[in-house]
Point group: none
Chain length 210, copies 4
DNA sequence: TATGAATGAGCGTTCATTCAT
DNA sequence: GATGAATGAACGCTCATTCAT
């Protein structure tokens, strides 16, 4: 699909500017949340005029929604890449946990914002940013479920629960540990190679067929 | 101490009014979040004048903090009761999951608010409501850890991970399933007796010593 | 006029209570001004209920007006006494300056409030407290003028200006020095016996070298 | 430096608008005092939106402080000019009294406000507007004192008191007469050429008949 | 009669959004 | 197209005053 790339110089310039705005907004929203950041601040930080922001986004919520979906995309791309790098089901899960851990640690503040919007209550956005992100997350969980399903078929995993439920469980355990680590002052040490492994152990001890 | 209960009629009246305000505020905050509810709305809904709200609470944040801590108390009391009703480790965990599930389903909207403040990013409250609630949660997880520890000692559980990690994992799996159910239109059927059991199974399959 | 004194116990009690309120209010108003003191604070300080204040005074302004007129009375009584203690014109003026100085130094904060209401702009009081106090002050200046007049007749003073103008001038010089001293950290030393004398000297000694 | 005058059209426009706001505020504050004027009223009167006021001033106090200092500047400039127009000490003092009288009569209401802030009690302004204005006034009095000092050296004046005290006295006599005139319905006649002269006479002629 | 809980108008201030330039 | 000055609705909060007890 080369057609998608055929942007005029003008269009490329606009996209670049839009990204600059989103970058500035990301920092500010992460630091202080949706409500405590003003359009003027985003304008100042991105070095555009306030009116210019409204050329790119309909309103503050549109800017925020775009930002969150973009970040969500980035994360899901990384996660999808992680589970597609190998054919081995166990390695796929290892890669998932490893990548999710990295994303958490590298984007701690954004992750909190992200959870406030999805797990937590999203009151910022009138029209369903939360739903969009949750649907995307659900689809990703289904991909994880496929890994379990395939692993069960191959006899790598015991059939202890429905694959989708296993996906939910794995994701939930990950989140639980990662949030626990986020609050831990020594969180960096958890990112040493191999340490995240033990998240899997809890699930695998009962799951793996030996 | 029966003396503590000896409130004058006036004091009882004040407490009742305070609860009425908190009730009204609970509904509104659950519906729209901290920032999108005005003191005037709380006043209108609770049928008091705006000024009266400030007789009971120093400011809007004080009202919110009081509300959240009160609800947090209620939940933790129920959970503590649940794990103290029996001496059997497996039953304790069952009761925990059962009670946590009930709380989730009965207070869905509040739970979202609660997560926005703790797991998610809390920008509403200047002085650490989030920390207070997280500390409380951590302490509760330590109680769950004790159950695992004691179960491991008795040989009921395999020693597959540190007790506190097991507590984090169990709590994380619960949250994951419960949020999944919250989004499910058929969520009520999950509350039928016994259904929540399979949350435990995922952990127990690898954990239980057979 | 013994009739005025025939107050019942009830009436005497009420007067005493009114004074207690005024005393409390005096301290607060001196410290923070009319606008920055609330009726609740006056109630707390005087140990009455807020509603009780409204039994004694129609509103906050009435309380303030009563207070200021009462203080104004006190000052004018002291000043009138001062100029009536002797028949000698020069001693009358000395006593006036001496007494006015004492009043300033002993009631510095109140004096400022008083000036804000009379010389300065009085926006606190809807209906002419300032006028009432200014009229009273004018009448007092006329008494001072009589002293100059009488002194001129007796040949004690040169007839350099109308007596009322001399009164204005003397009062103005006093105020100027007293305010200057109020701002001076060593103000207390000015109250040593005799020091105030030199306020008079400026008026008494001719300045121009002929 | 002509460069200082090189303001862009935009900057000149802004200055003009700021002055319009200050003009409107001056009228209102003079009429009703700081506390009894709302930002909405200033906005209405100056024909700007409330928000616009906050582009020019940080808050209500900033607006007030700016206004008072600006007026204070204007007065002190006029007074300094008056005492620098001639080298003759007596003429300097004449010019001072003449100019001060004119300022009083032309800005009667503002003068009251000004006195409420300096002589009277200033509770409006958190951070020392009163001190700033008083310091400025003190410095001006020192300039007047220099005139007396120089006049004494030249033998024009008798050395009847310290020069600074003479300055205080002259200023005080002026204020006393001017306030007296302010209250007089025929005040305008006092401004006829030469009439203010007799303020000086009181100081200049020796009073006591020896 | 004295109380103090309750009231609600009114304030200072903010900030998303618009639109003339 | 880009700008940023101008807007004004809406907020959190205060406090003089009232009135049921």
């Amino acid at each position: 699909m080369t057609g998608e790339k055929k942007l005029t110089r003008r269009e490329r310039e606009k996209l670049r500017q839009k990204e600059e705005i989103l970058d500035a907004a990301l920092d500010l929203f992460c630091e202080r949340g949706f409500q405590n950041v003003s359009m003027l601040e985003i304008a100042k930080k991105s070095e555009f005029a306030v009116g210019t922001l409204y050329k790119f986004f309909n309103d503050k919520e549109d800017l925020y929604r775009t930002l969150m979906l973009e970040q969500s995309n980035k994360f899901h791309e990384a996660l999808n890449k992680a589970i597609n790098e190998t054919d081995n089901e166990i390695d796929k899960l290892k890669n998932f946990v490893k990548t999710k851990s990295r994303i958490f640690m590298e984007n701690a503040k954004l992750i909190r914002l992200y959870f406030a919007e999805t797990k937590g209550a999203s009151y910022n956005i009138k029209a369903g940013l939360d739903k969009e992100i949750r649907d995307r997350h659900k689809k990703f969980l289904e991909r994880i479920a496929k890994i379990f399903e395939s692993g069960i078929k191959k006899g790598i995993f015991k059939n202890i629960a429905e694959p989708y439920h296993l996906a939910i469980a794995l994701d939930g355990i990950c989140n639980a540990f990662l949030f626990s680590w986020l609050e831990n002052p020594e969180k960096n040490k958890f990112m040493e190679e191999g340490n995240y492994q033990f998240i899997l152990n809890i699930l695998f001890k009962g799951l793996i067929n030996e």
